[in-house]
Symmetry: C2
Subunit: 224 residues, 2 copies
DNA sequence: GTCGCAATTGCCCCATGGGGCATCTATAGA
DNA sequence: TCTATAGATGCCCCATGGGGCAATTGCGAC
C-alpha cells in the first residue's frame, strides 16, 4: 500500500515536472510514428500524449492531461481517418485557442497547406520531417503557448480584482483614469469631495496599487 | 501650358485619392495577367502598379509610388524569372516590413507554400484565383497595412516628442513613471525638490500631457 | 564678451491628494 | 430585530503637486 502510494506520488511529480516543460499531443494514425514521437519527446523532457485519431483526442485528451500544468501544443497529421486534422483545428479553436497546432503531412496538396495556415495553424511540416526542425518548431510553439497562458492568467487575476470593486468605486476609477481631479469627479457624480476620496482609496486598496501610475498600467491590461 | 498643368494636377489628385484607398503592387511575368489585374484593381478604386519581375519592382516601385500615401500590399507570383517571389520577400522584409505580401501560384509545390508562410507571407492564393477571394484578401491586407502605418506614424510622432526632452527631464520622467514622489526623485538624483518640479513641468509641457495618467499612457506607447 | 539655454535652487502660496475620526442612511441577511 | 456592508458626508490635518518670481552657474554660439 505504501509502495503503491509512493510510486504514484513519484509518477505524479514526474508528470508535473514534465508538464511544466511542455505537453505535446501527438495525433497520427500510424502506431509506429506515434511511438517514435512519444520516445522522442519523452527523451527531450516533454510530456507526450499520443492519439490515433481526432475523435480519440477530443474524447480523452482533456481528462488525460487535466491535472497537468504548463504550455502545450498539438502535433497533428493532416490526413487522418475520420475527422481530418483541419476539421479538428476549427473544433479546437472554438474551445482553447491558446494551443498552437503544428500540422504534418507527406502527400498533401497545396490546398491543405494553405487552408491550415489560413485557419490559424502555427506551422506545417512536410514529411519526411526533419527532427531538428520538428523539435525547433515544437519548442517555439510551446514558448508561444506559455506566453499566451501567462497573459491569460494575468488577465484573469486582474479581472478578479476588478470584480471586487463596487459600481461606485468603478465609476470613480474610470473618471480618475480620464485624468479628472477628485473635485471634478465629485461634481460629475454629484457627490461630495470626501466621498470621492473614500471610493478612490477603497478602489486602490482592492486593486493593490499605490499610485495613479500603477492604476493606469493596470487599467491598460484589464478594462475597468 | 495651363492645360498641361491642369491635367497634371487632376491626375495627381486622382492618384492621391486612389492611394488613400490603397496601393496594390502586382508582380507577374505574364503581361495578360498584369493588365487584367490592373483593370480589376483600377475599377475597384485602388492604385495599381504592375511589374514583370522582382528586379523591376525593386528598381522602379519606390520612385513610382514615392509621392503616394496610403496603405499598400504586394500581390506576387511565386515563380518569376530571375529573382523568385520568395527571394523578393526576404529582400522586402528587411526594408519596410509594413507591407503584407500575397503570393499567387499555379503549379507550386507545398514546399513553396510552407516557406512563404514561414517567412511571414500574408496569404497564399492558388491559381485559378477566385476573384472574390482575391479582392477580399487584398482588402484585409490593405487594412492590416493601414493599421501598421497608423501605429508607425503614432510611434514616430511620440518619439519626436520624447527626443525634445533633455536628459535630465527624461531621468525625472522615468522616476515619475516608477511611481516615486517628487521628493524621492530629488533624493535619488541628488537635486532639490524645486528642481524636480521644474524638470517635471517642462517635460509634461513638451510631451503635451496634462496629468500623470496621460503621461503613463504615452510612456506605454513610446519608451522614455 | 555677450546672449541664450539648461540646470539648479530658494521662498512662498495655493490646490490637490491622502487619510483619521465620527455620523447617518439604506438595504440585505441571520 | 440586530448586524454587516455600501454609500455618503463633514471636519480637520498633513503631505504632495503645481507654479510664480528671482537668482546663480556653466556652456556653446555669434
Amino acid at each position: 500500500m505504501s509502495n503503491v502510494k509512493k510510486l504514484r506520488t513519484i509518477s505524479q511529480e514526474d508528470e508535473a515536472k514534465r508538464g511544466a516543460q511542455g505537453v505535446v499531443y501527438v495525433l497520427d494514425d500510424d502506431p509506429g510514428i506515434r511511438s517514435a514521437y512519444y520516445r522522442l519527446f519523452d527523451l527531450d523532457g516533454y510530456l507526450c500524449f499520443p492519439y490515433e485519431s481526432a475523435e480519440a483526442f477530443l474524447l480523452r485528451a482533456e481528462d488525460a492531461s487535466a491535472h497537468v500544468r504548463g504550455p502545450r501544443c498539438l502535433l497533428c497529421d493532416v490526413s487522418l481517418p475520420g475527422m481530418s486534422g483541419l476539421e479538428l483545428q476549427s473544433e479546437i479553436l472554438d474551445r482553447q485557442h491558446t494551443m498552437p497546432i503544428i500540422f504534418m503531412s507527406g502527400a498533401s496538396s497545396e490546398i491543405e497547406v494553405v487552408r491550415a495556415y489560413k485557419e490559424g495553424g502555427y506551422a506545417f511540416l512536410l514529411k519526411p520531417v526533419d527532427i531538428d526542425e520538428l523539435l525547433d518548431t515544437v519548442s517555439t510553439a510551446l514558448a508561444l503557448s506559455y506566453s499566451r497562458q501567462q497573459e491569460q492568467q494575468e488577465s484573469n487575476a486582474l479581472h478578479a480584482l476588478v470584480t471586487q470593486l463596487t459600481e461606485r468605486e468603478k465609476s470613480v476609477v474610470r473618471l480618475v483614469l480620464q485624468g479628472l481631479t477628485n473635485q471634478q469627479i465629485g461634481d460629475q457624480l454629484h457627490i461630495a469631495l470626501r466621498t470621492v476620496k473614500v471610493h478612490r482609496q477603497h478602489a486602490m486598496e482592492k486593486l493593490g496599487v499605490n499610485n495613479v501610475v500603477e492604476l493606469t498600467r493596470l487599467s491598460e491590461k484589464s478594462p475597468i
